[in-house]
């Protein structure tokens, strides 16, 4: 500090250098670009991982048979593998030769050894589905030619060898080739019979039951309205007679359907497949219970593709089985789509009207600002809070009134006073309302004032200007809000757990076989707003974290996630195409 001039010069120089850094801006390009790259990388990694895990898990795997050191025989598919450090205690029990093998492997793999997870199935016989096998523990391993995988309606997969095929108790085939030829020849027919049985059980019996229920409700209603006294006794008796008549008819229907079902079952029970498991136990399989069976190690690439596609088809179009761990997610797809569309139907008109008032009519001031802030904050409220609100307000209060007014005959069984599509959609509509309002407001603000002035100058009123000029012009922006709301709504899970999503729904919320959906006096046709529904997001949570066997559920979680992402992409894409069309129509060639 002896020379004041030099320090001054130095500080000026320092100052200039830091100025240069800002002025040049080159590092900022790297900073901003890097942030974007990291964000993209994370998203792409997740999508690729989910895509791969989800798409690959329907590919049929080869069957291995291994004999372990303890003499245990395992037959099944290797579903995954990992490296681990074997506990010292385990190693101590090994004999000389095996210890050498372990040490050799550990030397190769930096102190790790490999183990594989074998899906052995046959749960009803062994009480377990999966086994970990360490490589060093394996004495023998091969891919048996005639090992068969059978996916069953119950008890999960079966792995084993075909022994014989019986028709009406008589052996008609006893070599693997001939047994397999028989199975292939007859299996389709048996499954078709099983399908028609299922249709009878759900559809026909369901219709008969609905008919009876309707007559019963009419009777209860008549009894309630004309309670006791002489007035209306005629109607009451008439309703009772109607009910008894219907009941008798439905009884007859029931008997007929049951007989048909029994006939179908009897036909199917003629065919029995005898199998031997890997451990040598013998058991029988009823072909009606077998969804799909194939000799995994004999399949050609084309046949494997066939199995792969057939599994995808089942996944997309069938009901779940085995506590949702197997089978399809069709009800969840329908539930998700129905719920999302009904939600959109609620939230878009509501949000657009609210935004119109805020932007076009409300006078700017502290109150309007406060309302805007409140709307934006609404978007930040945890979604489970909306769920609780929906349950308390929509289900219990609204639903309670609706039941009281329109469905009193059914009480105490609730119709709308419980979770269902209507309340789930309403709750999510509330949740996504801020998105729509904000997007619509921005779109309205972006309509050039010259348009409005032009309309006013023609003598249009405010409402005419809004309807004829402002709204069409803002439509693409409103669509953007709708897209965002749909994406948000379709992916939401937490509030749905409270207001209508269930693990397994007996009926679809969108049912084209049954057009009797109502909301009080309003006929909603195939949309059954009162029904609870399955939802892909909830399905992922439920299967992944609530199922008794998480290992078995793993593939399903990935595939369902992939599907949910796919559905959201499809919903968004279609909305975007629509928006593009509108934009072309209303916004081209401004100058």
């Amino acid at each position: 500090m002896t020379n004041p001039d030099s320090t001054k010069g130095a500080s000026r120089k320092r100052g200039r250098r830091s100025m240069t850094l800002y002025a040049e801006g080159e590092p900022m390009v790297w900073l901003t670009g890097g942030a974007l790259a990291i964000a993209l990388l994370m998203i792409i990694t997740m999508l690729v991982y989910v895509g791969f895990m989800g798409a690959a898990n329907f590919w049929p795997l080869p069957i291995v048979e291994v004999r372990t050191a303890s003499g245990e025989l395992l037959l099944g598919e290797v579903t995954r593998q990992q490296l681990y450090q074997p506990p010292v205690a385990n190693l101590a029990q090994l004999d000389e030769a095996r210890l050498k093998r372990v040490q050799g492997e550990m030397g190769e793999r930096d102190g790790f050894v490999r183990r594989r997870l074998v899906r052995t199935g046959n749960y009803e016989l062994t009480g377990s589905r999966f086994h970990w096998v360490s490589d060093y523990n394996i004495d023998e391993e091969h891919n048996p030619e005639w090992a068969i995988v059978a996916e069953r309606m119950e008890w999960g997969n079966f792995y084993g060898y075909p022994l014989s095929f019986l028709i009406d108790g008589e052996v008609v085939a006893d070599t693997p080739e001939s047994v397999w030829a028989q199975v292939q020849a007859i299996h389709k027919e048996i499954r078709a019979r099983w399908q028609s049985r299922k249709r009878l059980e759900t559809h026909d019996i369901g219709r008969a039951n609905r008919e009876e229920e309707r007559a019963r409700l009419a009777m209860v209603d008549a009894e309630r309205r004309f309670d006791g006294g002489a007035i209306g006794a005629e109607q009451r008796d008439q309703a009772r007679r109607d009910y008894e008549e219907t009941f008798a008819r439905v009884r007859k229907d029931h008997a007929r359907i049951t007989a048909e079902i029994r006939a179908l079952n009897q036909k199917n029970e003629r065919y029995v497949l005898r199998m031997r498991t890997g451990t040598g136990q013998e058991t029988t399989l009823h072909l009606a219970d077998v969804v799909r069976a194939y000799p995994a190690n004999r399949l050609t690439a084309a046949q494997k593709t066939g199995v792969f596609l057939s599994r995808w088809r089942e996944f997309l179009t069938d009901d779940p089985r085995e506590a949702n761990q197997e089978g399809g997610v069709f009800p969840a797809i329908i539930g998700t789509v129905t719920m999302t569309l009904v939600m959109t139907l609620f939230v878009v008109p509501f949000g657009v009207l609210a935004a119109l008032y805020l932007r076009e009519y409300a006078k700017a001031g502290p109150l309007v600002s406060a309302v805007r802030i409140a709307i934006n904050n609404l978007a930040g409220v945890p979604s489970i809070v909306f769920g609780v609100f929906g349950l308390g307000f929509f289900c219990y209060i609204f639903g309670g009134y609706i039941d009281e007014w329109f469905y009193s005959a059914r009480l105490p069984a609730p119709t709308f006073r419980k979770g269902g599509v209507l309340w789930a959609s309403s709750t999510l509509a509330l949740l996504t309302l801020p998105v729509v309002i904000v997007a619509t407001e921005e779109a309205l603000a972006a309509v050039p004032s010259s348009m409005r002035e032009g309309s006013y100058a023609c003598g249009a009123s405010k409402w005419q200007t809004i309807v004829r000029i402002v709204l069409p012009r803002a439509m693409p922006g409103i669509m953007t809000g709708m897209i965002l709301a749909m994406a948000r709504g379709a992916g939401e899970v937490a509030p749905l757990m409270l207001v209508g999503a269930v693990k397994l729904a007996p009926d679809l919320p969108l049912d084209f076989m049954n057009w009797s959906g109502t909301l009080g006096p309003i006929l909603t046709g195939p949309i059954h707003l009162d029904r609870s529904f399955m939802h892909l997001g909830f399905h992922i949570y439920d299967v992944g974290f609530q199922s008794p066997d998480s290992e078995a559920a793993r593939p399903m979680v990935f595939t369902t996630t992939l599907l949910l992402i796919g559905i959201i992409v499809v919903l968004n894409l279609s909305a975007m195409v629509l928006r593009g069309k509108l934009r072309k129509r209303f916004m081209t060639g401004a100058f």
Partner: protein, 296 residues
């Protein structure tokens, strides 16, 4: 109804407008003093469609128009000229009360359109605007077909008769010299037209409802010379049939296409008279300076 000029008022203007040196008058205006307008005698003999009567307008605290009194003669083209920010457009937009859309605007005085007050109590602004047409600086066709654009003012009146609509559409498009260019594609989007065509479409839309006065706010400022020429020809054709009040920055345009010219400065009307007089032999030296391009 014919509104006769009040001779007394013209006189009053005469007496108030004491001869002043050019600089001192502009300085007086800049100081905020009251300076009287110079309205030529020729206007007194014209039949007025629109009478602007001592009109003041404020944007919040700032006064934008000071005591404007003008008569817009019937079937003639009247041009409003003046440097930017002098209140020409504000005055024009006050005629069809578009300024009402701005919350902070406050006015005093009145305007009378064919004997009916514009700012009087109980005036229905919507109905009022239907009696006028307006063309804006930047063409603003609506996002709909050419046909729907032209018949917009009829549609909002609930006109559904296809024949009437077709007639009006053709008449207006012919009136705006656009018919031959678009007759084959009336149902196509108006946004596909060129800039000049869009502006003529806006003129067609403005004359569709047979306005009593046609307001034009620099209709050519965003157009190329050829399109500008077409619009000027169009104004020439519309003259006589329609009363036109036009704001322009282009002195040649004002000189070519208008019958009367009003020169405004800082919210005041300075001089108002027949165009040839204003451009060749104005009463005030300030006007002379402005129209010859020496200031402004």
């Amino acid at each position: 109804m014919i509104v006769q000029a009040t001779p007394g008022r013209t006189e009053q203007h005469e007496t108030r407008a004491a001869p002043m040196a050019s600089a001192s008058r502009l300085e007086a205006i800049a100081r905020g003093d009251k300076v009287a307008s110079e309205t030529h005698e020729a206007l007194a003999s014209e039949e007025g469609v629109l009478e602007i009567e001592q009109f003041d307008l404020w944007y919040g605290q700032a006064q934008a128009l000071h005591d404007i009194s003008m008569r817009i003669p019937k079937g003639k083209v009247t041009a409003l000229v003046g440097p930017s920010g002098c209140g020409k457009s504000t005055l024009l937009r006050s005629v069809n009360r578009l300024n009402d859309l701005i919350d902070t605007v406050r006015i005093e005085g009145d305007m009378v359109l064919n004997g009916a007050s514009i700012y009087g109590p109980g005036v229905d602004v919507i109905e009022l605007r239907k009696r006028m047409g307006m063309v804006f600086q930047k063409s603003n066709p609506f996002p709909m077909s050419i046909y729907e654009n032209v018949v917009y003012s009829l549609r909002i009146d609930g006109e559904r008769n296809k024949k009437t609509l077709d007639e009006v559409c053709e008449r207006s498009l012919r009136g705006a010299a656009l018919w031959d260019e678009v007759k084959g594609r009336l149902q196509e989007s108006a946004l596909g037209l060129s800039g000049g065509q869009q502006q003529r479409l806006c003129i067609a839309r403005a004359i569709a409802a047979e306005p009593e006065v046609l307001l034009m706010d620099e209709p050519c400022s965003a157009l190329d010379p050829i399109a500008t020429n077409k619009i000027e020809d169009l104004i020439e054709q519309l003259k006589g049939e329609y009363t036109i009040l036009i704001v322009t920055h282009n002195m040649q345009q004002a000189a070519r296409s208008s019958d009367y010219t009003a020169f405004m400065y800082l919210g005041r009307l300075i001089e108002y008279g027949p165009t040839d007089v204003i451009f060749q032999n104005p009463l005030l030296p300030e006007t002379q300076d402005y129209v010859t391009g020496r200031f402004g």
